[in-house]
Amino acid sequence: MATTSADTPIAVRVEYFAVLREHVGRAREDLRTTAATVGELWAELDRRYAFPALGRVKVAVNDEFRDWSAPVRDGDFVVFIPPVAGG
């Protein structure tokens, strides 16, 4: 039986900033995932790292803001964005 695309791991790079970087203990990692969306990728990493409660987190794929339902594809660069505090 042919494997579906959802079962085939893809390679993604995840970068962490600020509170997430300190929590995970590194600024970036390359990983393989079967997550179909960035929301599923967040859930997978949350199971691994038990992220702190952060309020509203946003997500960017390849340096653009995306919805949590956005697909994650092989080679994507994903950044989870904790609540910002510029100015």
Partner: protein, 151 residues
């Protein structure tokens, strides 16, 4: 060149002032955000700004473009510091020129408000008691070695 930029080094508004010069301008409005020595009832010694620069520049430029759509302005520019800042340091600078002052003030206010809300920049405050915390992230912990083992 983007009308929003990050600076890892201290800068003066004078250095960037020419970016908003325009012969049609009759008014110049600017905002400077400074590092203050307190927040939320606690003494602040210094702070750190961390930025997701690739997306931050795009979002900052979008904000400035929105200001041009909303207000009749001539030029606008914003510079945000990254790195370690001491009390009194310049953290962010917004400048707008316009034919008339109302638009310059309004656009300046729009840009700084949106930058604070939308640009991926994070601020870590270091307190007089020796601990630190990421603002808006509801996490405050003693300065521990980074990389403590995840659960």
């Amino acid at each position: 060149m983007s009308r929003f930029e990050f600076s890892r080094e201290p800068f003066t508004p004078e250095r960037h002032r020419a970016r908003v010069a325009d012969p049609v301008a009759g008014g110049y409005a600017s905002f400077e955000g400074w590092v203050r020595n307190h927040n939320d009832g606690r003494g602040v010694l210094r702070l750190e700004y961390e930025g997701y620069e690739a997306l931050g520049i795009k979002e900052g430029e979008r904000i400035v473009a929105e200001a041009f759509e909303r207000f009749p302005i001539a030029q606008a520019h914003c510079v945000h510091r990254l790195g370690v800042l001491e009390v009194g340091d310049l953290a962010v600078w917004v400048a707008v020129t316009a034919a008339h002052r109302d638009a310059a003030f309004a656009a300046c206010r729009y840009i700084i408000d949106e930058v604070k809300n939308r640009v991926p920049i994070w601020k870590k405050e270091h307190y007089a008691e020796g601990d630190s915390g990421w603002i808006n992230c509801e996490v405050r912990s003693a300065d521990a070695p980074a990389g403590s083992a995840p659960r």
